[in-house]
């Protein structure tokens, strides 16, 4: 089972990467458009309030980004810090969960 973990993580990393490629293009274009004239809470929330599309899109975005980032950080930790094994996997799982929770809370705050 262990033998398959590395390749599964690699595949998940690439697949989330593909999804994020699409999401980030949308996100960047949106941000570059709306940034003009500065940012304000009212402006942001006017666009996001009760917007189910925003909730769905950013919900998927958050989970994909959390997976992609955690798996990426795992490789960096292994190769740069020489940190391997269950302790690293646990810490990164916690990071993944943290990102998901924080992201969903942010979406709730903006949409509801």
């Amino acid at each position: 089972m262990n033998n398959r973990l590395e390749i599964k993580l690699w595949l998940a990393h690439r697949l989330t990467g593909m999804a994020l490629g699409l999401f980030v293009v949308i996100h960047l274009i949106t941000m570059i458009i709306v940034i003009q004239g500065g940012l304000s809470a009212a402006e942001i929330m006017e666009r996001t309030s009760s917007n189910i599309l925003v909730a769905l899109f950013y919900g998927l975005f958050v989970v994909a980004a959390a997976m992609h980032g955690s798996i990426g950080l795992r490789t960096v930790a292994q190769e740069v810090l020489n940190w391997k094994g269950p302790s690293l996997d646990l810490v990164l799982f916690i990071f993944f969960a943290l990102l998901c929770v924080l992201g969903v809370i942010a979406i709730i705050g903006l949409v509801l």
């Binding site: 690439r14 990467g17 593909m18 994020l20 490629g21 980030v24 293009v25 960047l28 941000m31 570059i32 458009i33 940034i35 003009q36 500065g38 940012l39 304000s40 809470a41 009212a42 942001i44 929330m45 958050v62 980004a65 959390a66 980032g69 955690s70 990426g72 950080l73 960096v76 943290l98 990102l99 924080l102 992201g103 809370i105 942010a106 709730i108 705050g109 903006l110």
Partner: protein, 112 residues
């Protein structure tokens, strides 16, 4: 000790890795700031006023640049790994670098 650094692909990987690390560590902060919306629009606004300071706009443009370079660098990796090898793919490094710079610049121009 001088090592081999004689290919642009090495720097492409280097930038891909470290832009990813910065973005991954930035994400929780980003989500937390947005979640301030839960505490009311004025609390979020209080934080967003920081974004009027020029140096913050530069930092934001920097982050946009990092996101763009990581995205374009990621597209390069996906092309190499999932398409048949072709010589034109070696130009994707330059596309990634140039495209990301353009993105950051565009954001900066609109942010002011």
């Amino acid at each position: 000790m001088n090592k081999n650094r004689d290919k642009k692909e090495y720097w492409a990987s280097f930038i891909q890795r470290w832009s990813g690390v910065v973005l991954a560590l930035f994400l929780p902060v980003h989500f937390w700031v947005l979640s301030l919306a839960l505490q009311g629009g004025d609390v979020l606004d209080g934080f967003l006023h920081w974004t009027d300071i020029p140096i913050v706009k530069f930092a934001e443009a920097g982050l946009v640049g990092l996101l763009a370079v990581h995205l374009l660098g990621g597209v390069r990796i996906l092309v190499i790994e999932f398409f048949r090898w072709a010589e034109w793919q070696s130009h994707l490094v330059v596309v990634a670098g140039g495209g990301a710079f353009a993105c950051g610049l565009l954001f900066l121009l609109r942010a002011f």
